[in-house]
Amino acid sequence: MPTTSTDLIAQLERLGGEFAAAIAPLADEQSIRAAQAQYLGKKGQVSDVMKELGRLPPAERPLVGQAANKVKDTIALAVEERLGALAAGRRAADLARAVDLTLPGRPVGGGHLHLLTQVRLELVEIFAEIGFAVAEGPQVETDWHTFEALAIPKDHPARDMQDTFYVADEIVLRTHTSPVQLRTRQTHTPPRRIVAPGVVYRRDDDATHSPMFTQIEGLVVDEGVRVSDLKGVLLHFVNRFYARLTGGAGLDVRLRPSYFPFVEPGVEIDMSCGFCRGAGCRLCKGSGWIEIGGAGMVDPDVFAQVGIDSERYTGFAFGMGIERMAMLRHGVNDIKYYYEGDLRFLDQF
């Protein structure tokens, strides 16, 4: 059967016209590509038509060639359009999704540090800003480190002030972190600037006293350390620690003479009440001042115990209860909550 260029061109145009209809029902790229191969592949229908090309006179071949190219373009375009339409359909379907974002978030983490740890870390940081390093010591301590070396002999009335848990005659649960100072003074020569946060024990149990609680004690020993320096350091501390409470209003520190056997002069530390700004409230019992700890200049007798020359060196020490600070700042109303592992409490901070 003779073949004419007209026939071949007509066949090609028919194929081109057919293709779009052939892929219209196809909804995935793979079958579209398969259909495309069926038309354009080496064994595809377009190739079949082009095999007839050799029978044509050479002069007619370019015409058929042009028609073949046109069909290929038509098919490629149809594929592209169809794929584009499918992609657009998928995107539209995806965008039609709507999620209820009032559902709760999927929990991540959920762990946290204990309030007392948070406060302690903050305190350590505040004192680090002015050069304090951290020191630690044992909780089960010798009577000597806890009392004797701090000028509190066995019959001293001050032993009433801190009723002690005994483990043996000469072994106690430390009632304050002052033994740590002593231990560092034994091993480190001045200048010394440390804070010792740690757990201490006293026989006391009510809403504001716990038989175990946490103290932070500070110590500075150097040449020329003065009472005024103690005041300055405490002022730095209260204004950093309670800053967010007072909205930036400055807090004042008041030192009131008091007695602790290992310091002379000894003082109680009051800070101006940031809750009522001095007007008087429940927390400051109407006085405008809140007691936050004790302090004083290291007693020369205590220096002598660890071989430091008190004519050359002076120093101060201060001690404060971390539970109480957290109670004041965070409104904790019973000290026992800190130690019970009660998630209803712990998870609030």
Binding site: P104, G109, G111, H114, Q139, D155, P257, L343
Partner: protein
């Protein structure tokens, strides 16, 4: 110490008399914290002093009296109905609560008919005003009472006054009396101390007797009793103390008893010197002396008096003999120890020195002659005896803190005068004063330069000197900027330069000290490793909440773990407290686990079943070489541990709960060791850890093979003992034992791709994953980058019973080139061959 404001002011000559609030503020700022300030007369109001000008019986009742009273001289009389039996004759003063007056309890008076007669208000008794308990009826003021008519009743009663509750520091025994507090007020406010001056009255009230002939005092133990002053007051009548005198005692918290007892208490509170009044007739003379054998007029009595007014009684201050006994005035028989200091008469103990008198010699309603003791005793001795016998008293509290021996004569004289006045007696001439070693008063050198450098303020030398003088010191200049200071004898706490500087600073005012920061000269940096806090942060980051629990716990809780008590495990032998506050706090913890498990149980009781808690803290183990029981002789080891418990389910989101399992807690432990840079830990299954489920338990080893902790599921019996219902997964590791992390070094970021190969193995079930990992790492070649277990399952039907399948994924990479497939295959096949041979395993 409770102090009465008017009493303080009596002892001061202040340039400007302060209000009570000013006084309280000054004391507080000076270190004598005024804890409360109570208005004594606040309980009632509108009650006035009125004079009775007439009285007649009530027409309807013979128990009622109609009383006419006036409140102003020449004023109109008002008729009041009174039910008391003791309505006085006209001319005496009573207290009238007219309509509108208020009484304690809040009652407001009005005009009220009593049996048909209108009564505008009432006449008041002590009970009604809550100022006493005199049962005899209405208050009738003393005939010579000078309170003007119409004045507030508070004035007549001595309650127009305030009570200050002062918290005196432990070293300020001198402030346990009004005199000491007055000295402070004078120093702080600027004024002169005015101590009582009984000398003129002693003369005026002298008896025709000689104290030295009536009392024979020896001090057998001068260390225990540095000074003993005695006086004798004769011809006394025991009766109630005058109302305002008694009122002061009530105000300081002491119940008035009788004039003799009240005077000793009064002087104790006034001067801070405890006194004891003996009935002279019941203090015996020397054994064998005339009176001691005769028995006298009371011969039939248990404790016959001497009956002879002129033989001296004997006072001997000595230590008790072992087993000696005496009956104290509370009626208790006390067995004494040689440490107790005694006051003895010629035959027997008559008082526990400074603690409590004896019942045989106490003053009674018939006492007419008093031997008054004003002594000072060694603080430590008094403290021990009071402690041992559980007898703290106003007296012992003062002796424990030290009483100035120089105070004894003044107190004796003051009390003698008051006794003579209130008891209508006379004072024997002279005093017996035994003072074997009067102490040498210290002379303390003081430097202006030191004052300034310690305080950080440039105090003026004149100010320093003035402060010391106001405190009662003697001050002698000793060259430019130097002084020699003799503190007052009452101030035993002022023995060193620094003590004087403190007092100068108290008077100067801490408020006047500037705030400075110390010059920064820092020594060696951080003294502690912060591993505990790094661990806390890591565990919080892993989703656990931090708990802090007590360092002590009950014995039951400590024993709940069921640890071996054969001596192989120090944790089974906690150190006990000698004096715990409760059984819940009996022993120091040796593990963090019991408290954490108790917290799980506690939370469950609140309906919180899903718990993920950790604690990082010390545990307390008996030191190596210490006995496993009894009190330790050395400090404990206090290793730092981290422990975690997971109970219930993971934090839940919409779907069904996903219970925790042991691999969750292992994952937390891995996160912890990663954060601490502690390197690879190994877990080795161990069925012999008593508190863990035998099949879900492992020991944790560090890279060197040392055991540093335990991991697994808590044994059901253990958790049940601690009240926990569901499974709990835990680990407990010793943080101090973890290898110290070196600073991490960067490894080059790989530039060439990795290739992964999987191998699926069929193994006998008991072979642990660690075994496979060990073989791989033993066979390891440079090219192996990571080894990961991707899948593990058992399927008896497909794999056979007792078998399991594991799919391991190994990743290969070279730092310097892209590996060819052939290289990777060769490396992988070499590993697989060793796995098959050594694990052993079959390749699937």
């Amino acid at each position: 110490m409770k102090a009465v404001w008017s009493w303080l002011l009596e002892l001061c000559d202040l340039s400007n008399v302060p209000t009570v609030e000013e006084g309280a503020r000054a004391l507080t700022a000076g270190g004598l914290e005024v804890e409360s300030l109570v208005d004594l007369g606040a309980g009632f109001g509108g009650v006035v002093v009125a004079e009775v000008v007439g009285k007649r019986p009530h027409p309807e009742s013979n128990k009622l009296t109609l009383v006419d009273v006036i409140t102003a001289r020449g004023g109109a009389a008002t008729q009041v109905v009174c039910g008391a039996p003791n309505v006085p004759e006209p001319g005496r003063k009573v207290l009238w609560a007219p309509p509108g007056a208020t009484l304690p309890g809040g009652m407001t008076l009005a005009v009220k008919a009593v049996k048909g007669v209108e009564s505008p208000g009432m006449l008041c008794s002590e009970t009604e005003l809550e100022i006493g308990d005199d049962p005899s009826g209405i208050i009738v003021l003393d005939a010579d009472d000078g309170t003007p008519l119409g004045a507030r009743a508070q004035q007549a009663l001595g309650v127009a006054d305030w009570v200050l509750d002062v918290n005196a520091p432990a070293n300020r025994g001198d402030c346990l009396g009004h005199l000491g507090l007055a000295r402070e007020l004078c120093a702080l406010l600027g004024g002169r101390l005015v101590p009582p001056a009984p000398e003129p009255d002693l003369e005026a009230l002298a008896a025709d007797l000689d104290a030295a002939a009536l009392a024979d005092v020896t001090i057998g133990d001068p260390e225990g009793c540095p000074r003993y002053v005695a006086r004798v007051i004769d011809g006394l009548t025991v009766r109630r103390s005058p109302r305002r005198f008694a009122q002061r005692l009530r105000a300081v918290g002491v119940r008035p008893i009788s004039n003799l007892v009240d005077v000793t208490n009064y002087v104790l509170f006034e001067l801070g010197q405890p006194l004891h009044a003996f009935d002279w007739h019941h203090v015996r003379g020397a054994r064998g002396s005339r009176d001691a054998t005769r028995g006298g007029v009371n011969a039939g009595g248990l404790y016959p008096g001497r009956g002879d007014g002129n033989v001296p009684c004997v006072i001997d201050v000595r230590r008790a003999r072992a087993g000696e006994r005496m009956t104290t005035l509370d009626g208790q028989e006390r067995t004494l120890v040689p440490d107790d200091l005694l006051i003895c008469d010629g035959e027997r103990p008559v008082a526990l020195a400074g603690v409590m008198g004896g019942s045989d010699s106490e003053v009674s309603a018939t006492t007419s002659r008093v031997l008054l003791e004003s002594a000072s005793f060694q603080p430590r001795s008094i403290r021990r005896t009071a402690r041992r016998l559980g007898l703290p008293s106003e007296a012992s509290q003062r002796f424990e803190r030290g009483v100035d021996p120089e105070l004894a004569p003044l107190a004796a004289a003051r009390a003698a005068v008051l006794l003579a006045r209130l008891g209508g007696g006379r004072i024997a001439r002279g005093q017996v004063d035994v003072y074997p070693r009067s102490p040498i008063r210290p002379i303390v050198p003081l430097r202006l330069s030191r004052i300034r450098s310690l305080i950080g303020a440039d105090l003026h030398p004149g100010e320093c000197e003035a402060a010391l003088l106001r405190l009662g010191c003697e001050v002698v200049p000793d060259g430019e900027g130097h002084w020699k200071v003799t503190p007052p004898s009452a101030r035993a706490d002022l023995g060193r330069e620094v003590d004087l500087i403190e007092d100068i600073l108290r008077v100067h005012g801490y408020g006047n000290v500037p705030a400075t920061l110390p010059a920064l000269r820092v020594g060696p940096a951080q003294l502690v490793d912060d591993v505990a806090d790094r661990a806390r942060r890591a565990l919080a980051g892993a989703g656990l909440a931090e708990a802090i629990t007590f360092g002590f716990q009950s014995r039951d809780r400590a024993a709940a773990l069921g640890l071996a008590t054969d001596g192989s495990d120090r944790r089974a032998h906690p150190v006990a407290l000698r004096n715990p506050m409760s059984a819940e706090q009996a022993v120091m913890r040796t593990s963090l686990l019991p408290n954490l498990l108790a917290a799980v149980a506690r939370n469950a009781s609140y309906g919180i079943a899903d718990v993920a808690l950790f604690e990082v803290g010390a545990v307390f183990l008996r030191a190596a070489g210490q006995a496993l029981d009894g009190e330790p002789t050395a400090l404990c080891d206090e290793p730092l541990h981290a422990a975690a418990v997971l109970a219930g389910a993971r934090p839940r989101w919409l779907g069904a709960p996903q219970p925790w399992d042991v691999f969750d807690v292992k994952g937390v432990l891995e996160a912890l060791t990663r954060a601490l840079g502690a390197g690879e830990l190994r877990t080795v299954a161990a069925s012999d850890i008593p508190y863990l489920h035998p099949g879900v338990a492992a020991r944790v080893h560090d890279a060197d093979g040392r055991v540093i902790g335990e991991l697994g599921e808590v044994h059901p019996a253990v958790r049940e003992r601690l009240g926990v219902e569901g499974p709990v997964f835990m680990f407990d590791v010793a943080l101090g034992a973890l290898p110290a992390a070196a600073p991490a070094r960067m490894r080059s970021i790989p530039r060439f791709p990795a290739s992964a190969r999987d191998v699926s193995l069929l193994l006998d079930d008991p072979i642990p994953a660690a075994r496979v990992r060990d073989v791989i790492s033993a066979a390891s070649q440079d090219l192996v980058e990571t080894v990961r277990l991707a899948e593990e399952y058992r399927d008896a039907a497909r794999l056979g019973a007792g078998k399991k399948s594991m799919l391991w994924s190994i990743s290969y990479r070279a730092a310097d080139r892209t590996l060819t497939d052939a290289e990777v295959d060769a490396a992988h096949e070499a590993i697989v061959a060793r796995l098959v041979a050594e694990t052993p395993a079959e390749r699937r």
